[in-house]
């Protein structure tokens, strides 16, 4: 597994870009640890294809192989790399541009006024809705 955060995030995003791998992770998340054979029962692809995807997921640190019964390898979900990726997304999602725009509007309206709420409130830290990095303000690095 890579040892710096950006490389971890990159592998997570690459792993999640494939629908079969997302399905495998979803199956492990909902059903708990499983073997490649178990997963092949529930997913519309062969055991061999699943094994290939599991190897990639293991390399990204998203699953861990552990010995199971009768020498069958079971795979268990690991969420740590996703949380590293999550931090990357969180930094994008904190939408200060909208928040400061709303503050400016609020002050310009007279600061006591009620709630003409802006259509889109800011800084809901929601990774599904990443803010657009703006070209003003400080750079993120350093």
């Amino acid at each position: 597994m890579p040892d710096n955060a950006e490389a971890v995030a990159e592998q997570v995003f690459a792993a999640l870009a494939d629908p079969t791998r997302r399905a495998i992770l979803a199956a492990l998340a909902s059903g708990g640890p499983a073997t490649a054979t178990d997963l092949a029962v529930d997913l519309p692809i062969t055991r061999q294809a699943i094994a290939k995807h599991l190897a990639l997921l293991a390399e990204a640190g998203l699953v861990r192989a552990e010995p199971g019964e009768r020498r069958r390898v079971r795979y268990r979900l690991r969420s740590a790399p996703m949380q590293v990726a999550q931090q990357f997304l969180a930094a994008l999602a904190r939408d200060w541009d909208s928040a400061l725009g709303a503050l400016t509007d609020h002050l310009d309206r007279g600061a006591q006024g009620p709630p003409g709420r802006p259509a889109r409130r800011a800084a809901e830290p929601h990774p599904a809705n990443p803010g657009t990095p703006s070209d003003h303000g400080g750079d993120d690095e350093g």
Binding site: D3, N4, A5, E6, V8, A9, R78, S79, A80, Q83, V84, Q86, Q87, F88, L89, A90, A91, L92, A93, R94, W96, D97, A99, L100, A102, L103, T104, D105, H106, L107, D108, A111, Q112, G113, P114, P115, R117, P118, R121, A122, A123, E124, P125, H126, P127, S134, H136, G137, G138, D139, D140, E141
Partner: protein
């Protein structure tokens, strides 16, 4: 390209620092421009909360720095981490007079934490991250 640890934005406002300060640090102000509802205990260590009704999301904050009318800082959680996860980001507003108005800078930092820490914290669920975070905050405060 880098893994972003901090977000920094500056905006020029045509209002005096005292007025901007009220918008940032009162429940009325925060509930008007930031969230839909807000509550705040404005003192270091005090709790604050903001709610976005539409999204059904509530942010729990902890007030860290109160230097009226120049510096207001708080920490809050990182979306997507489990409730109670010790990792938080630190948000600091700095208000500087600029003519008749205010230059407002917001810096949110702490997004990129050591991956080793992230693994241990995520995996073992330990809480030393919080102490570390506060140490970083203290170092930050000392440096400031």
């Amino acid at each position: 390209m880098g893994f972003p640890d901090r977000i920094e934005r500056t905006v020029e406002l045509a209002h005096a620092p005292e007025k901007v300060w009220a918008a940032l640090t009162t429940a009325e102000g925060l509930g008007a421009w930031f969230g839909n509802e807000a509550a705040i205990d404005l003192r270091p260590g005090g709790a604050a909360r903001m709610r976005w009704n539409e999204e059904g999301f509530t942010a729990e904050m902890r007030v860290e720095r109160v230097e009226k009318p120049a510096v207001f800082g708080f920490t809050w959680g990182i979306y997507g981490l489990p409730a109670g996860d010790p990792r938080r980001t630190y948000v600091e507003f700095t208000l500087e007079p600029a003519g008749a108005g205010t230059r407002l800078t917001v810096v949110e930092s702490g997004f990129a934490q050591l991956p080793e820490d992230a693994y241990h914290k995520a995996y073992d669920g330990n809480t030393d991250g919080w102490a570390k975070e506060l140490g970083e905050l203290a170092a930050y405060l000392d440096a400031g």
